[in-house]
């Protein structure tokens, strides 16, 4: 670890003006590309980024395997990307408030996918046709079937059947990929922290 980096972290956490200024300059510069997408709440975003940086540095997540500058640049980037995604996050109808008869608790509730799940889902998604992805993108964006029918210029019945077929194909693809096993489809499930790429590992926690 470059001694200056640890010194900067210590001084920053102490509130030293110069260290805070240096880190804040890095944050502003690193976050600049995301500003247009987050313009309506930019001040809040910068504050969230500063809080995240402070949290990570104060909990010792930075271990010096990259420069402090690079580490903070990546923290700023993924925090800003999370903010962008939060602006467009879709809301699934809360099924718990629907009266659906017996044993509603047996239904699966949405969860953040684990790494393995996400890997599988992305592989399934790669095999789905672009038309299907487009249909479901509109659905997830909250379009009614009438709006989608008008937008696409197809009858409502035709549209509903197409969406159903896409869902069925995606379900079948997922089933096939699961059945073929983790190695047969070329998936590489790395152990946590081990490098995939050929470059030197950098396992600073983000």
């Amino acid at each position: 670890m470059v001694p200056n980096d640890q010194e900067v972290v210590t001084r920053f956490l102490r509130g030293d003006r110069e260290a805070v200024g240096t880190v804040d300059d890095w944050i502003s510069r690193a976050a600049w590309p995301y500003q247009r997408r987050l313009a309506t709440r930019w001040d809040d975003v910068l504050q969230d980024v500063r809080l995240e940086v402070t949290r990570l540095l104060s909990t010792g997540k930075f271990r010096g395997e990259s420069s402090l500058r690079t580490y903070l640049w990546r923290v700023v980037s993924h925090t800003c990307l999370d903010q962008i995604r939060a602006l467009t996050k879709w809301q699934l109808t809360d099924l718990e408030v629907l009266d659906l008869g017996d044993n509603p608790s047996s239904w699966p509730t949405p969860t953040v996918p684990s790494h393995e799940d996400r890997d599988l889902l992305l592989r399934v998604l790669a095999k789905v046709s672009q038309d299907c992805k487009e249909l479901w993108r509109m659905l997830v964006a909250g379009m009614s079937y009438r709006e989608m029918s008008e937008h696409l210029g197809v009858a409502e019945g035709t549209l509903r059947v197409r969406v159903l077929r896409c869902r069925e194909k995606a379900t079948a693809l997922r089933r096939d990929l699961l059945a073929s096993g983790p190695l047969a489809d070329g998936r590489n499930i790395p152990a946590r922290g081990s490098p995939i790429r050929s470059r030197e590992a950098n396992s600073d926690d983000l």
Partner: protein
């Protein structure tokens, strides 16, 4: 609601855009149908699938050429087919470039205006000042133009001497270009006018066709279309008023063309068909559009033939419209 309809509507139940009556019907169906509840679970899985993206930390790691939890080819394939993630990757690349190259200077951050009311008032004031200045300037120009016109009118008219022939100047070339464009615009206007005329003629023909179809149709019945067909070999037939009605009638007299006329109870002619009724098996039909008869009641369908140039009454039928 059937299971087929229910299953088709599930995605829109999940995205919350079903209208209330439809939603209530669907929920009622789901409450009692396990098959459709299973389909609902599959639809929720589909939502998970189609809202799956590369995680922000993996995306940043990929852009920084660092190890990620997902394989590189998985990330790359996703970016190739997901525009939002690809756009986010570009933002991250831009950020990385700012880290690595101190010579790249981003534009200064625009300050958010905290007092929009003040901005609007200032803008309104500036606009009104500009308006006053512009109006003043226009008035002065108008006055100047007027005085110049008065001076010109008072001056004796000079005799114009044609200039000697010379090579075309830039102004003349420009003038020729403008004349050519004007000519082109005039021709295009003519073409558009012709197109509008043709479209109007088509519209008129369509309107005329629509009007024709609003009248009773002779021999328009297709034996494969049974709707609204009423068979009768007697002189009376009941037909509904509010749907298409096609009485099938049998010829009872000599074989010759028949021309139909429809009269109301008072004998007033409501319609005269110009197309003859002719069918090889002695049956013929007249189709009455829905709502054609003015009101329920009795009407007469009188058939005529033409012999030696004169109309001869033939069969007549009483139509009781209900």
């Amino acid at each position: 609601m059937t299971c087929e309809t229910s299953i088709e509507l599930l995605p829109w139940l999940l995205n919350g855009t079903l209208e209330q009556p439809e939603k209530d019907q669907l929920l009622q169906h789901l409450a009692g149908c396990e098959r459709c509840r299973t389909a609902l679970a599959e639809s929720r899985d589909a939502y998970r699938l189609f809202t799956t993206h590369v995680g922000s930390e993996d995306l940043v790691a990929y852009v920084w050429d660092q190890p990620a939890t997902l394989a590189a080819e998985v990330i790359e394939r996703h970016l190739a087919g997901c525009a939002p993630c690809a756009a986010e990757a570009e933002l991250a690349r831009m950020s990385r470039r700012l880290e690595e190259d101190a010579n790249v200077v981003p534009f200064p951050t625009r300050q958010v205006v905290k007092r929009p009311a003040l901005v609007w008032r200032t803008a309104a004031l500036a606009a009104s000042v500009l308006l006053v200045v512009s109006a003043t300037g226009w008035w002065q120009s108008a006055q100047t133009a007027k005085s110049i016109a008065q001076e010109e009118a008072a001056r004796p008219t000079p005799v114009l001497v044609p200039p000697p022939a010379q090579t075309p100047s830039a102004e003349e070339a420009r003038s020729a270009e403008l004349r050519a464009r004007l000519q082109e615009a005039v021709e295009r206007t003519g073409e558009l006018a012709a197109e509008a005329e043709a479209t109007a003629q088509v519209a008129a023909r369509l309107e005329s066709e629509v009007e024709r179809l609003r009248q009773p149709q002779v021999n328009a019945w297709n034996e494969y279309l049974e709707a609204g067909v009423v068979r009768s070999a007697s002189d009376g037939v009941e037909i509904p008023r509010d749907t298409v009605a096609t009485p099938l009638l049998e010829a009872q007299g000599p074989e010759s063309d028949r021309y139909p006329t429809v009269l109301d109870e008072s004998g007033k002619v409501l319609w005269e068909g110009t197309k003859p009724l002719v069918r090889a098996n002695r049956q013929y039909s007249v189709s009455f559009p829905a709502g054609w008869f003015p009101k329920p009641g009795r009407y007469t369908l009188q058939l005529w033939s033409v012999e030696n140039g004169e109309r001869v009454p033939r069969e007549s039928y009483t139509l009781t419209v209900k």
